[in-house]
């Protein structure tokens, strides 16, 4: 274990979510599960800081969705607590009402989330429930559709949408609530590669609007390229830290039924062969390339090989220091 990979455990006092005003949402010692079974989460901690992308990873059935539901207020932990803007979440009507205006969760299966006849109706559901006026609702719906890039789908019946479109429509429904924190359960699962890029681009637009995003995923490569921090569910607890440190931890990654991102494998191999100088870990192909020697002047080896483009993931600036 590298020492940096478990910061929420090791640097406790300074990282206490209650003492830091840039913490938007946090879980502390959350124990949660379902009736008639052992709890899935047995003391889980997670901290979401304003503007810092978090990728939540873990095996099928490890409790990823459960921690998301706890953070969203839809599942009440049997022990531990959820903090939002420094205050403890109360599971009564007014507490939840306030919470849901700050935190929104988009579930994995879009089919079970779209319950209205057309996209506009579905997206307007949340703002209507906030008791806003018609004009304000319309403005929010338009904004959400625009951010998700699905303005053209506004009047389409939900059951005619493709899988990727349904996924974005479901997300728009949460975005129309203008949450400070948006939690997404597997937003890219089942999307084609360009669909994944479109979804990530939409999330970037959301961040520009001041929303902090956490996404749960099985895709370690995406997690490394996209997130500032990774949180891995393992054995009922969470290990959170900078994405490149956490995902490089071979033991942790293996015990959570994940694998190491390919970029880290390639970097290690190139480094082991003396082809790379030591340095920061690359997060994506661009960074990896930058650390290599510049290309020779000869012609490219294969006809039809395009200028090398990276997957259009917007990688976070690596210079952002972790507050500690």
């Amino acid at each position: 274990m590298s020492t940096g990979a478990r910061p929420t455990h090791d640097d406790a006092p300074l990282l206490d979510p209650e003492l830091r005003d840039d913490v938007r949402l946090a879980a502390q010692g959350v124990v949660a599960g379902y009736p008639g079974a052992e709890p899935v989460l047995r003391g889980a901690d997670l901290t979401i800081t304003a503007g810092r992308r978090v990728a939540l990873l873990g095996a099928n059935g490890s409790g990823k969705t459960t921690i998301l539901r706890c953070l969203a207020g839809s599942h009440q932990p049997s022990a531990g607590r959820v903090l939002v803007d420094g205050a403890v979440l109360r599971h009564d009507r007014s507490g939840l009402r306030r919470h849901r205006q700050r935190v929104q969760l988009v579930l994995q299966d879009p089919d079970d989330q779209l319950f209205s006849a057309d996209v506009t109706q579905d997206v307007s559901f949340g703002p209507m429930n906030l008791g806003l006026g018609v004009d304000e609702v319309r403005e929010r719906v338009d904004e959400a559709l625009d951010l998700l890039g699905i303005t053209h789908l506004a009047e389409r019946p939900t059951h005619q949408l493709s899988f990727g479109e349904r996924k974005r429509a479901a997300t728009a429904g949460a975005v129309a609530m203008r949450p400070a924190v948006l939690l997404l359960d597997e937003p890219t699962a089942g999307l084609d590669p360009v669909g994944v890029e479109e979804m990530l681009a939409a999330l970037t637009r959301l961040e520009d609007h001041g929303t902090t995003v956490l996404l749960a995923t099985h895709d370690v490569d995406l997690a490394l390229a996209w997130a500032h921090e990774a949180a891995v569910v393992q054995g009922g607890t969470l290990v959170q830290g900078p994405a490149d440190q956490v995902l490089a931890d071979a033991d942790l990654v293996a015990s959570a039924r994940l694998r190491r991102p390919w970029v880290l494998d390639v970097q290690a191999a190139l480094h082991g062969r003396g082809l790379l100088t030591a340095g920061t870990r690359p997060r994506d192909f661009d960074t990896l390339l930058g650390a290599l020697a510049p290309p020779q002047t000869g012609p490219p080896p294969q006809t039809g090989t395009p200028p090398l483009t990276t997957p259009a993931l917007t990688s976070p600036p690596l210079t952002t220091p972790r507050p500690s």
Binding site: S116, A117, D118, P157, H159
Partner: protein
Amino acid sequence: MREVRERPETKLLLGAAGAFTFVLSAIKLPSVTGSSSHPTGTGLGAVLFRPPVMAFLGTVVLLFQALLLAHGGLTTLGANAFSMAVVGPWAGYAAYRIATRAGAPLLVGVFAAMCLADLATYVTTALQLALAFPDPVSGFLGAATKFLGIFALTQVPLALAEGFLGVLVMRALTQV
């Protein structure tokens, strides 16, 4: 039955319809008092699937409720099957046909169907109970008054709620 034999795919539709009826009765209806109750759903089912189909589906749903949820108990299954699976759907369906024949809009018909199916179910149950437990002083009529009185408190609001639910559901369905 005959339909099922001739077209095997209707088996799946029937299975889904029955599962839906079961699930519908597990959906909590919001109520004014804050407590919640469950719709019987047989009125909507009768309009959508016709009463004879509902009689069979309703009986299986009751069996499932008795065994999976311990609702009511199998000891009263015979009585329940008659009131919920036979009387309810037919009363609801009749209300629906009469209303729509009389030129009422579809939604009014659905409201009447849901509302009356629910009411008829509980009136029948009350009468069955009164038959089984006649009042020692006032006999069957007194017992019927008692049981109907109890049900009126709980079931009339529920029947109205179910009627409104039917309208909302139908309106959503006609938009699709």
